[in-house]
Amino acid sequence: MEMPTPNPDILARKARIVERLREVLPRDAVIDDVHETRAYECDALTAYRCPPLCAVLPASTQEVSDVLRICNEEGVPVVPRGSGTSLAGGALPTADSVILGVARLTEVLETDYENRFIRVQTGRTNLSVTGAVEEEDFFYAPDPSSQLACAIAGNIGMNSGGAHCLKYGVTTNNLLGVTIVLMDGTVVEIGGAHLDAGGLDLLGVICGSEGQLGVVTEATLRILRKPEGARPVLMGFDNNEVAGECVSDIIKAGVLPVAIEFMDRPVIRATEAFAHAGYPDCEALLIVEVEGSEAEIDEQLGLITQIARKHNPVELRESTNAEESAKIWLGRKSAFGAMGQINDYMCLDGTIPVSSLPYVLKRIGEMSEEYGLGVGNVFHAGDGNMHPLILFDANKPGDLELCERFGADILKLCVEVGGCLTGEHGVGVEKRDLMHAQFTAEDMEAQLRVKDVFDPKWLLNPAKVFPLDVTESRRVA
């Protein structure tokens, strides 16, 4: 993974930059000791590491503004960081950059059940947003699998999804407003507790911009009343294609499940050995969850199982109570951990039209043989967001590179069938160089021009999202 050469001039000015940052932040909020900055050398994409020039942990919007103003004046790149759970290297620093962590911005600023929103500082974790409204039976819908740790700031940066977005949408559909600090330190409010923008939808373009347009310090989020209940049904098939058809038929029938999750045989076997969820040993497994009152759930599950039966499932297990539901979800929720037990893996995140599911699974299988690397599939089938896990041996020379080439081929396949490189993890550095597969030079140029407006000096997370050769003239300008 190529990163820009650190600017020697910035490295030489480290002491002065740190001193200026210390003038606006408490002593312990500026971390410049070379041992301590190691904590910020990578995010969850651990294959790539680089300690930053320093890290800062501002505790207010004003402090964020002061930090950005100074970095802007000094011409220092800033890499915003939520909780560091990005799988795409979104928070990977360069040696000449300042990591701006939002970990100290964790307050709940306002909860309003009558108008159904919560306003929080963005260092707060995803799950603790729901935690703040749970006693009134409300919840915040986007639920990325890292929700225990990941910060709202990162969710907004990557426009995070989760298992339940088939019904509730992703972050952008649940974000009502932000307080954002621009690179020159200007603090701007966009949106609020009301719906939709009065002018251009700037909120829409900020969400998912991977920390390249500004640092979001506060967010107004839509909260929803919890459904009366939810229950899944598990179904096993002896053929991926048939499972794919079943997904399509369920969607066409007018049922709108909150989640349709898919696992293939390698993943089923690994999770079974790891979590003992009692999954059948079959080619493909679907978990379909619906919500509502007991009677409503029964009705919907009845309809879904009726559709499933037409596809000759090898197993059909309707949950009747919370314990059975937990058991059905147990394997799915431990899938990533289980795969990690047997091997190193790289997790991809391409999205495809649901109709291409069988074809893409077949091609991934063929490519797996060509590359000689195993692959497991576990993903959100309802919205076509795939998560192929490519298995490799990090200790074997050349295996990571082989795995990356295989991954790139899978993502190109996703684009070919009408999908995209990343559905919810973001581009970061991981998929940066694949952007050519999805966008023409002009398509990318249009996006760069948006950054030109928000961050004319190209200092915010500059080495991400777009191929380095595409952004070079702007980054050095």
Binding site: E114, N115, R116, F117, M158, N159, G169, N173, V188, G192, A193, H194, L195, D196, A197, G198, G199, L200, D201, L202, L203, G204, V205, G208, P227, S248, D249, A253, G254, L256, S293, E296, E299, Q300, T351, P353, V354, S355, D383, G384, N385, G419, C420, L421, T422, G423, E424, H425, G426, V427, K431, M435, T440, E442, D443, A446, R449, K451, F454, V465
Partner: protein, 376 residues
Amino acid sequence: MMNPVTEAELAEAVAGAAGPLRIMGGGTRPIGKPVAGELLSVAGLTGIELYEPGALTIVVKAGTSVAEVEAALAAEGQRLPFEPMDHRLLLGSTGEPTMGGVVAANVSGPRRIQVGACRDSLMGVRFVDGRGTVLKNGGRVMKNVTGYDLVKLMAGSYGTLGVLSELSFKVLPVPEAVAVILIEGLSDEEAVRALSAALGSPFDVTGAAHAPVGVDGAPVTMIRIEGFADSVAYRAEALKTLLAGFGEIAVEADPEKTAAGWRWVRDVEAFAGQPGDVWRISVKPSDGPRVGAALKAQGLLYDWGGGQIWARVGEGRDIRPALEGVGGHATLIRASEDTRAALPVFQPEPAPLAAISAGLRAQFDPRGILNPGLMG
């Protein structure tokens, strides 16, 4: 008038434009500051490019009529989730509303509170920028975080950033049944409290409106639920119980009557043919009644749980002082050309935001030829 029928012709028309262009789809939504310029019609770019009911996806050319798209979806038991308003009655316009127009104005109806706005169902766009370059963003999948989301930026940009040529949407199944809870005689404050109670319940409300003057002259509060028949019946009962304290409750489940009732709300039929300017205001629902009262309007209609206010007021009057100290925005939807030229049609933005909006327009349309000045 330029009337391209392909995307390539559209790009040529923009690239070769000698001066400002006035961009039009079906011409049924004359919203915004009056624009002087040569007419560029997108109505010739028509057709459904792809429709996959099993993937809940439809891709259409921007000039395709809303009616054609809705008919194609209905044939498969599906629909556009966001219930786009038809502005013809309110604005007294004629012609065929197009999908490009719906997106350009980010037009959403009562179901916006549950499924989101037009921009939330829009998955991909193709458009021609002010240089005449064909650009694409997004695609035809719901989950897509590849690069910046220019799809949202294009929705509601009224043709000032680019001319839309192709659009892809997520669609949803038409539910089996619908029921509407009706409460008569509530004050605006009581009504919004009732709507909030319903929207804060687990019963999945898909419409929440209040008309201080209903069809028969009395105040009426309307709450819609949709889904499978048994489920709708169950939730209607549950909502009746929940809202019992607000007054006598009726339930209407006749599909034609409920559809007509929500069309009346969606299209603001109450103000059709009535004198005065019409404003659309978005605030948080609990601010709705206070703002509504401060407007001193000749007519009011509350949608989106009370947060969207349609107000009919005397001609030429700027109502924005009524929003003083309240978060939200107001758009002048219907007024004479003179009034639209004199008053800000869109909510004035604070300086840093206005600078960003102007910067984006300059980047996408450096010659300033796409509906120049329409958004102020």
